[in-house]
């Protein structure tokens, strides 16, 4: 069956079943690397993508639930030439070890910063409390999100 999706501002049409998890459509059909498979049951956050600005766990979202929505993956957030403030901050703070969790951290934080432009560290921790990192990069990630929030605000006031 043809499923039409809007991913990173592009319209795509996929011949897949409507109950296919969005994660597999993005990774396997569209060959996007951003969202990661970590658990498949909405427990770790590695697969996070933005759907209409909200962070969702693509491993448990069937593609037919996001037809007509705007889907953004890590690829769509920014590029080395034009990085999203979070991407720039993750590089600056060296906010990872293996980095497998980073997609989920960045995407979850991207949605969070839309709602809270001036978060405390504690609010950042709460916002990321359902995203797991096994390497212990948490404090660097919190710093990076705080740093990104600052540069957002500066970007808006300038």
């Amino acid at each position: 069956m043809a499923i039409k999706l809007n991913v990173n501002d592009k319209e795509v049409q996929l011949d897949i079943k409507p109950d296919t998890p969005l994660l597999y459509a993005l990774r396997n059909d569209l060959e996007l690397n951003g969202p990661k498979f970590g658990c498949g049951v909405a427990q770790c956050g590695a697969c996070a993508v933005l759907v209409d600005g909200k962070s969702v766990r693509s491993c448990v979202v069937p593609v037919n639930a996001v037809v007509g929505s705007k889907i953004v993956t890590l690829e769509g957030l920014g590029s080395p030439e034009a990085p999203h403030p979070l991407q720039a901050a993750f590089v600056k703070e060296q906010a990872m070890q293996c980095g497998y969790c980073a997609n989920g951290m960045v995407m979850t934080a991207a949605a969070f910063l839309q709602k809270n432009k001036n978060p405390t560290d504690e609010q950042i921790r709460t916002a990321l409390s359902r995203n797991l990192c096994r390497c212990g990069a948490h404090n660097r990630i919190v710093s990076a999100v705080g740093e990104a929030a600052r540069s957002y605000r500066e970007g808006e006031s300038s």
Partner: protein
């Protein structure tokens, strides 16, 4: 004096173990009298390590794998330093058995030590050869030629030519001689700098960075169907024809009790595997112990008993009082964020396997044996996955993919473990228990020290053909490979007894290791091996003794230390604690400290943890950690701090939360809900200070903070509540009950 005795305790045990002698296992005999680093002796040809192209771009090809620890960056820094090129002119190739040097496993925090030394020597020699070529080319005396930024200089001024101009004449297919001397440290411009890691941009911008990002034409998706017990037998009826008719299913592969399904699409493979689970009946053994009875079981299990260190004469000193205590840890999981996977493809008589194993060359031998190919016909290509922290499911998944690929010639097979496959299939860090008994003289001085540790093995890596029997699938297939003997790493490194020998100078001491070869679940190397438990026990006990005598825990430790560097990190920690106001902490908060030198030969690390305990509920809040480390010459300070910091947090997670749960029918921890780890709101702040020791050789930092963190937390809880908990994890229930 060290004596070694060995006898079998208990009855009916078949003891299978082998001593993992580093030289034979690593295949890296250091030639007598050789001045070359061990990895360069094993892989002497310079072209296995370095290539330079006509643009002067350098490709470094080490035998160590990137595991998220930043090793590629550190090695690139060393190469760029010695070659006098800009850091961004160095690329680092992934490990490939077809081209890379064989550096055995990437483990034990020795990559900077071992591979770093080889890269340094190889790069220095290549630079020397290039300088010789330039002297000819420029027709000047060799000693006038230098290099700056990849451009040759003559008498200190830039010439017109750089590396690229002479590479046509560069012959690197020659053995390293060790004739060139590496730079002296005072001229370092890159080593010692916190350069940004080379792998981070591709991860942040979602470029192809991980093994998961490899996609091949015609690639099929596979899943295995199994229980956590590799000896479990698949019982009849085994009519799976209904599943083979499901959409997209290409093949169901059954070889004995090895069962897998291959489908065109990933979600089809997932669905088919779920359908197979419902049709399978397994004959699986009941476990002889469950979570609450691990300690008793360990102490009664048949064991190989050895005194691994002894000095003075235990029992000879005048003892006024004897103090003893027992400590324990449960089984704990690597629980990597990415469940293991692998891609395998059989083409003709060749099998290629893409894997995130830590030991490409050893896996090549193990896989060849498993699938019945000659080793030359198997190629392993390494790509990065999420951090593994030791021997997780990576090797088993590679073996699974290889077995499946052998049934599907020509097809690239992508085998992905589910989250539950990983939790059930990975070998855990062994449950352990220890007993310490100290004799004190009339002044409270420790004059007698007896230490006993009970542990399963920490090494069942499938290291080559001989140990292919360690692979999960090796016991499942119709013609199973014999179970390989479990590893017994001798002192001074030690497995279960890693760091069991205290760094403290006690007049009389005996350390006894009891290795239990036959454990009810698979166990192998988890970050730090036995050091995590032994440091937890020794450093908890030292705190108990200090406290009983009303002595400051740092001064108490220093009294028994002869090692200046150990004293150095404790004194550094004392400064950090004063600056952070850790001296003024009152209940319900508490501060605890601990210190160890990893393996008694690696990095020194002292940790102070501040906690707050709610005595009503037992709820423990880890508030802030301070850490002082001495890792010798630091190649990349921020990279080292990142690893130490991550080690503190991971160890904190093990220490306050983690245990693999065992029920009668096997492991019941199958997901993040049944195996919870530390989350953002629970993670303490961590500050790491590196003690400057740049004249000492580099020491790996990856495993140094695991043990001290555990004891620092237990000591902090004891200081906050007055109650001592000796069994891990330090759960709220235990804190409340104590």
């Amino acid at each position: 004096m060290t004596t070694r005795r060995s006898f079998l305790q208990g009855t009916g045990a078949i003891v299978l173990y082998f001593n993992m002698v580093p030289t034979s296992v690593l295949g890296q005999q250091v030639a007598a009298g050789s001045n070359l680093p061990e990895s360069l002796v094993a892989n002497p040809s310079l072209d296995t390590w370095l290539r330079i192209d006509a643009d002067g771009l350098v490709t470094l090809s080490p035998g160590k794998c990137e595991l998220g620890q930043g090793i590629q960056t550190a090695l690139a820094q060393i190469a760029a330093e010695e070659l006098d090129v800009a850091f961004d002119r160095v690329r680092v190739a992934a490990v490939d058995t077809a081209t890379s040097p064989n550096e055995a496993y990437t483990n034990g925090s020795r990559s900077v030590e071992v591979s770093g030394a080889a890269v340094r020597a190889a790069a220095a020699e290549v630079r020397d050869i290039l300088v010789g070529l330039a002297a000819d080319e420029l027709a000047v005396e060799r000693n006038k030629v230098g290099v700056a930024n990849g451009v040759f200089t003559v008498d200190g001024s830039a010439s017109k030519i750089g590396y690229g101009a002479v590479v046509a004449d560069l012959q690197l297919a020659r053995n390293a001689t060790g004739s060139a001397s590496p730079k002296s440290q005072d001229s370092y411009r890159l080593v010692g700098q916190s350069l940004q890691r080379i792998d981070i941009p591709r991860k942040v911008f979602a470029e192809s960075a991980y093994i998961q990002d490899i996609r091949m034409d015609g690639m099929l998706h596979a899943r295995v169907v199994r229980t956590g017990d590799r000896e479990a037998k698949l019982l009849p009826p085994t009519d799976f024809s209904a599943v083979s008719r499901l959409p997209g299913v290409v093949k169901i592969i059954r070889d004995g009790s090895f069962l897998a399904v291959v489908a065109e699409r990933e979600e089809q493979a997932v669905k088919a595997a779920k359908a197979l689970v419902r049709l399978c009946h397994w004959d699986t053994a009941k476990l002889p112990m469950q979570s609450p009875t691990i300690n008793e079981w360990l102490k009664k299990a048949p064991a190989d008993v050895r005194v691994v260190a002894e000095s003075g004469a235990v029992g000879s000193a005048e003892v006024a009082r004897t103090v003893s205590a027992n400590y324990s840890r449960p089984f704990q999981a690597h629980a990597s964020m990415s469940p293991s996977m692998s891609i395998a493809q059989k083409s003709g008589d060749q099998l290629t396997v893409w894997s995130h194993t830590q030991g490409a060359f050893l896996m090549r031998g193990a896989i060849a044996k498993l699938v019945g190919l000659d080793e030359e016909n198997v190629r392993l290509i390494i790509a990065e996955a999420a951090g593994c922290y030791g021997h997780n499911g990576a090797d088993d998944a590679a073996a699974d993919a290889a077995l499946i690929a052998m049934h599907m010639p020509g097809k690239p097979i992508r085998l992905q473990w589910s989250r539950a496959d990983e939790f059930l299939g990975e070998p855990y860090g062994s449950a352990m228990t220890t007993r310490i008994s100290a004799g004190l003289d009339a002044n409270g001085q420790i004059v007698d020290w007896q230490y006993d540790v009970w542990s399963g093995t920490h090494s069942i890596r499938p290291a080559g053909a001989k140990r292919a029997g360690h692979l999960f699938a090796a016991r499942q297939i119709a013609q199973p490979l014999p179970a390989a003997p479990v590893g017994n790493i001798p002192q001074p490194r030690g497995g279960g007894d890693r760091n069991a020998v205290p760094l403290y100078a006690f007049a009389n001491q005996r350390i006894t290791k009891r290795l239990i070869p036959d454990m009810p679940v698979r166990v192998s190397a988890l970050r730090g091996l036995g050091a995590y438990m032994n440091v937890f026990a020794i450093e908890s006990f030292m705190d108990e003794l200090a406290h009983a005598q009303g002595e400051d825990p740092i001064s108490f430790r220093i009294r028994y230390l002869a090692d200046k560097r150990a004293i150095g990190v404790l004194e550094k920690l004392r400064e950090q604690m004063a600056a952070a106001g850790f001296d003024a902490v009152v209940a319900p908060a508490g501060v605890g400290i601990a210190m160890a030198r990893y393996k008694n030969s690696g990095a020194y690390c002292a940790v102070a943890m501040r906690v707050v305990v709610d005595t009503e509920t037992g709820q423990l809040k880890l508030d802030r950690a301070l850490c002082a480390a001495d890792i010798g010459l630091v190649v990349n300070p921020d990279g080292a701090i990142n690893q130490i910091e991550g080690g503190v947090i991971q160890s904190a997670s093990w220490t306050v939360k983690e245990q693999v749960r065992l029920g009668l029918n096997g492991v019941t921890s199958t997901d993040w809900a049944s195996y919870p780890i530390l989350t953002f709101p629970e993670v303490p702040l961590v500050e790491v200070a590196l003690v400057d020791q740049s004249n000492e050789p580099s020491l790996g930092s990856g495993e140094a903070s695991q043990g001290p963190t555990a004891a620092a937390i237990a000591n902090a809880v004891a200081n906050a509540t007055g109650k001592r908990i000796r069994d891990l994890p330090l759960t709220a229930a235990r804190i409340k009950k104590s």
